[in-house]
Amino acid sequence: MRKNLKKATKTFTSCLLAAAMTGSLLTGCGPSSDTSGSTGSAQGTDAASADEDAPVQMYFLTSQTTAEVDDDAEVVKKIEERFNIDLKGFYVDPNNFQENLNVKFAGGEMPDVMVVGSPADLATYIEGGIIGEIPIETIREKAPNYAKVADEYDDGSLWTTMLYKGKNYGIVNPAKQMPMAMFWRKDWLDNLGLEIPETLEEYEEVLTAFVEQDPDGNGKKDTAGAAERIFGAVFGAFGLRCVTGTGAGSGFIVEEMQLGEDNVPFFPYIRPEAKQALEVLHRWYEKGIIDKEFITGENHGGYAGLSHSFMNGQIGLTSGQAYVYFVYSSDMNAEDNLGTCMKEMVAVNPDAVVIPGPAPIGPDGKSGTEAWGKYDRLTCLTTKAAQDPRKVDAFLAMLDAYYSDMEYAELANFGIEGVHFKNTDHGRIRLMDGLELRKEGVLQVDFGATVPYADNLTPQKTQYAESITGNGYYRFNAPATEEFANVISTLDSLTEQAYFAMITGEKPLDYFETYVEEFKKAGGEAAEKAVQEAYAEKLAAIANQ
């Protein structure tokens, strides 16, 4: 028997060797990663432009979309004319986006301009030879208006974001990021004769009433107060930024560190104040204020911003971006005022009345909700583009224009009036969906909701959001460090399990200290220190510029 197996294995291994040899012969012994571009009409390869004045071809990869840019669209032509470029979209299928992108790189294709998700991604791309350097002096020289705005809104960390090992690799956009707003069921408040609460104690009173006093008047005790989307506000009442994801059951986002007042980054999850917040959440869970089904999430599918629990009257309080509920006013009947979530809610429950409220104020007077990064939309030039001075110039010119010329910003982001958007008393309203707009060249080369954009092009929206929100805990772009990257997923699992257990009461609150110890031992302490050092280095590097 064994002899037969040996024989079979021998046959097999000889087959395998033959196969491997033939196989590699057929494929030419591994890929030749020829970054000088592949043959044929592959994307990202430059058409030979002998004429120095001819428009330079530039491929843009700025968002995950299936839209393919129409070369003949008017917006495209206008942009091309202004900057003397041949605008092309670098198409990557958003299904399995990262894999598709990797496959393109493996084939030697890459865009010219790329938006990157975070400094960690940036580091990987740089190591992988994808992103090219743009010295800060060059940026200041060729995009002075951008530099001016950037300096104005710099809290000291803006210019450090795109630094890696002492060199600069792109730009970030100072964005007018609005923190999350709190949304209440006004009809419930009215039914129970309650006012919108302001402090954490008042919140507890109102939410308890939601649980005990049958606010929807259906005779059943089937309502809870809130679910996981308000966790950020509760932590905010203690000065911390601990954020839950919007997907179902995605728990806490531990990789987002917080920048302290002293300009030192830290992990909010291991601070003693977090225990206080957990105490509150646990108490609320026991009382039924926190919906027991917060574990599976408020969203049950479809558009991630929707809160099915809120829409269906299972809870009376939720949190989210202002504009997904109201665009410019808290009046539910105002024209064109309802955001996506509000529209869906009204369709499900026409009698619901929603009203925004302030984030709860904690015992030490702190309050606030989470916000995305103040410096957003990390945009880079690839190594291919960085080598071509014309592309660098064109890119920086486009950047500068977006920050100084509001008409251009409108063209790049909204399109042409009457075609892509219309002007109303309450601001600009888009006339097509994102896919159609992108096909027409809109939203392909823009830089997002920058500060000048927010102030000039969407003033009503911006002002309204500001009026209903308060302090914002902004996302901090932590510099990429080896120590952090190696352990963060472990820290994530550890934290999520611990926090959920303490909220539901499966583990007592005293467990918090044990958890902190485990966190530090698992590499959390080293990671925090590494990030702090890396950040301090970057600050020093900028100060010397």
Partner: protein
Amino acid sequence: MAPTKKKAGFFTNLYRFREYYIMLIPGLLFFLVFCYGPMYGLVIAFQDYYPLKGISGSSFVALKHFKTLFDNPFFLSVLKNTLIISIYKLLVCFPAPIFLCIALNEIKNAKFKKFAQSVSYLPHFISWVVVSGIILEFLSPSRGPINIILQNLGFEPIFFVAEPKCFRGVLVISDLWKSIGWGSIVYLAAVTSIDPSLYEAAEMDGAGRIKRIIHITLPALAPIVTVMLIMQSGKILNDSFEQVYNFLTPVTYEVGDVISTFVYRMGIQKMQYSFTTAVDLFKNIISFGLVMLTNYVARKTNDYALW
């Protein structure tokens, strides 16, 4: 009496059986080109691979990724979960299609049989994203029918999906529901080629229904069951990422976090293509080893092993 056993040479064999080998050419060519051709990519598991640099341009790091995997404090727990869930599924979801096949075989009403068959495999086509949504609603502690019934009977509602004790059960049963119909197709093929006169003869000999099943239907299924079992055993380290991911929440990590969901979360920070390749290679080595083992065992019991 024993003739001189001369072991035929390679080319003699090739010539003698040439007709057969010629028939093998298309299939073998396919495997050679499209399966063994890219096989060199396995080396990525031993590199710090960057797509643009390619294999030749990426640095060799030997077992670094494997170390990262094995050194992780959660690795053992994740491995344990993967194994336990696979074993549960093997015990429950492997026999189930066989049972369904036998049950369908015993149903004489042709119309009902056809109808039931067609219905049974429908869940195979629905993605886990959709199925999990339906199941979450079904098992909801506040709105789900099961809990409503429980409450009416005076019991406390159970949050199945969030209860560590029930979580693996949810995974196994939902997988059973989804795969039983499609899985039974392969057994149906074996069963329908059973000669009906065998049943008649057994009936004449006084064998009851159950005896007929045991002595006719089951043996006819034995070859195919052997093969399926061997291949299934190789999948012991596989897990259905889509299924688990859509049900997993932090409260059930301890019992439900499996290799693929764990690796998925690890990949978010590092975006390392090599790491996932290394994990896959690890899983594949174990799988293939198991297949070799079960195949060896199977060869001792009947003729239908893989090789």
